[in-house]
Amino acid sequence: MTTDLTRLTASALHDLFERGEVSCREITSAHLETIRAHDARYGAYLHVLGEGALQAADEVDRRRLAGEEMGALSGVPVALKDVIVLEGVPATAGSRILEGWIAPYTATAALRLMGGGSPVLGKTNCDEFAMGSSTETSAYFPTRNPRDPERVPGGSSGGSAAAVAAFEAPVALGSETGGSVRQPAAFCGVVGLKPTYGRVSRYGLVAFSSSMDQIGPLGRTVEDTARLLAVIAGRDAHDMTSSPAPVGDYLAELDRSVAGVRFALPDAFLDHAGPALREATENAARALEAAGAQRVEIDLPSLEFALAVYHIVSRAEASSNLARFDGVRYGPGAPADDLLDLYLESRGRGFGREVKRRIMLGTYVLSEGYYDAFYMKAQRVRSLIAEDFERAFRTADVILTPTTPDTAFRLGEKIDDPMAMYAQDIMTLPANLAGIPALSVPVGTSRGLPVGVQVMGRPFEEGLLFRTGRLLETLSGEDRADA
């Protein structure tokens, strides 16, 4: 019975829990057992809560018996990417500089999950400070792709995607700055969403690039993913960038047809994709048309600058956001004779190569004399890209693209080639620059490796993305409730 539970979708587990057929403790302990049995192989988790998760599960069971109303995923445990803080639990963000730090407060998204009746199973591995596309920059260990352990799970939310794909969590939260939820979702064959900027509170999310960071849900089905978003979405008084826009009824949207939906399949994206991904995306387009959706043409003239703009803006913000890691207030710090020594030792030892590279680039582009040429110009072009999308969404309701240029690559294949690694984000980062929502859905495999397509939409129209994704997920031919 217990091993079977991990094979069910989150939605199915929630139903069983609601009907009183399975307790939250049973669901949680089944997942903890799977983690114990298999995670050594994948390295999805940095920290497993164990007893703490079971105690939280008991509390959820007690609340159900008391007749308390909980959330759309009550009874279903979740995994959190290690950039999301939870009171009393270590938070490393995949970095040595936070080794041993126990967070004294809880992120709003995590608080909403717990309030909604979802115990936290553990903290998942990720690229250091969410900077990477393979989870190989984690200071602790790389995570392996459950579909092929010789390959990366993608990143930076590789641990969350792997945990969900390996049945070590029914659903998980990751975080995005340029594709860090969608790309690993595509590589691991699960569903991942980057919500509209401001849809989910960033309070308690370790910052990388504040103007693009967003927590996003991962699940094995579109419905599971939609339910997870429903629990965490909405205005938070602790985050001024969170939006007061009402949260849609995502579950009701799921059952609506895509007939009449206008979608575009821009060459600007397809041109960057390998043959397998092109074919899968064109296949997805045909499926949409067959279901009554209408294909339209759009133009995104500024898109070619997206990668450059993304790099400047995200590095600039990162260089400032990571300044707080100075060895003074938390983290291991380093014994030092003077102040400069303290900074050099703490940061020199605490940060890995990729993080240092980004801090240096960001510091450079913000420097006097370079600010206008780089940062200001990048922000202006960013506005143009956002305007491109705004204009495109007058013609199209959604935009369909491959999620990644290719399927999962091998461990070590790109880690010494930063430019090749950065190119991983080419399909995904435009949505972060424009602040729009984007969903990655698995639509099948190529040589045994999962292939994902991406659906982007207008701000706060996550419901339409789920509706479209629901149709596309049937293309994979996999029953992810029991793969």
């Binding site: 602790h238 960038t241 260089s319 400032s320 300044a323 207030r329 913000l366």
Partner: protein
Amino acid sequence: MPEAVIGLEIHVELETRTKMFCGCANVFGAPPNTHVCPVCMALPGALPLPNAEAVRGAISLALALGAEVAPELTFDRKNYFYPDLPKGYQISQSRQPLALGGRVKVGEREVRIHHLHLEEDAGKLLHLGGRAGVDFNRAGVPLVEIVSEPDLHSAEEARAYMEEVRRIVQHVGISEVRMEEGRMRADVNVSVRGSERSFGARAEIKNMNSFRAVERAVRYEIQRQMAEVAAGGGVRQETRGFNDETGETYLQRLKEEADDYRYFPEPDLPPVALTDEVIGEIRASLPPLPDERRRAFAGMGIACDDIALLLDERSRGDLLAAAVEAGGEARAMANWILGDVIRIERESATALASSGLTAGRLVALQALLEKGEISGPAAKKVLEMVYRTGEEPQEIVRREGLATLAEDELGQEIAAVFDANPKAVADLAGGNEKTLFFLVGQLVRRTGGRADPKRAAAMIRERAQAWKPPS
């Protein structure tokens, strides 16, 4: 003749209930790190939220200075490393300060304000015998920076300007500006003009927290720069400190080593519109400002120096204005405030504003005095009790038995004083006026202030003639 050119950057901490970007209490003097939270300690994942009270306060000050408030509130990050700066950047305003322009009247001169902006304070370094610590209680306390144009030309003017800014801040009601708590600090730019060798290069003297320090530092710096120029040297662009013990400024660093703060828009705080409606509402609720009070008090016949003293603490002017409003005579009221009230406040732990002394009570006290119901010394005693307890003066007079003695009672007391001092009485009767003061003093002491000294003096003089020592 070379001329000094001086501009000030004044920082004032706003006394809001909570800090600028979090809910921690904004208090002075608490044990280290007892008012901190994830936001002001810059824990990973924490986000700032602007404090509406601080924004409103800063807008009030901007309006009081006659500055133009920006159409929206925007923040920037000022990036630098220092242990007292938890985030590694200070949230400040650089592209679009909260307000531009404005003026401060200093005597006959009008000093132009360049701009005013809102930011957060840093923590405080503590030196713990060979080790260093940081107290983050102050980290995130709202700070307004008021930057003047270089319109000042002497040490005295610089001081007078800073004093006037303090009065305005206090009148606006956003801070008591307690100097001893470091609530107001100034950086002063000094240059010497009119000599070709000076090139107008200026020295910035950093972080002074008293009027006296500013005045002394500027005086020293003007002399130093003039001497440099006279000796054939030039003045360099540099940052200097002020040593309070020697009264001298000293080189901290040359400007070539200037920091690059890598300012950029704070992405955690999107712009907030400052509508005409909100600004109009704040403008309408501005309390009377020093300049307005100055004119009003001068119109009441109060002397210039007295007015300055009255305006140094808003509570004094408030009391005077309210007392006059309640029917008190301006000069009599001002005399009370400038004399006994200031003395009592200084000796007491309670500030005037939170004392029991109200305008109504001060007017009532003066009325009792004028009607002769109490004596001058008794009135002082009553005032102290009113200040402490907030009781009505009449009530205190009744309970403490401080009413002036009736004619026959006074006669009996005088007789008793005469009996005890026969020689003095004889001397007075013989025309030695000096003994009159002695006898009046004895009477006042004996009656505990219940005798009105003037009336008593008249009676003593009159009765001394007829007095016969008891045989």
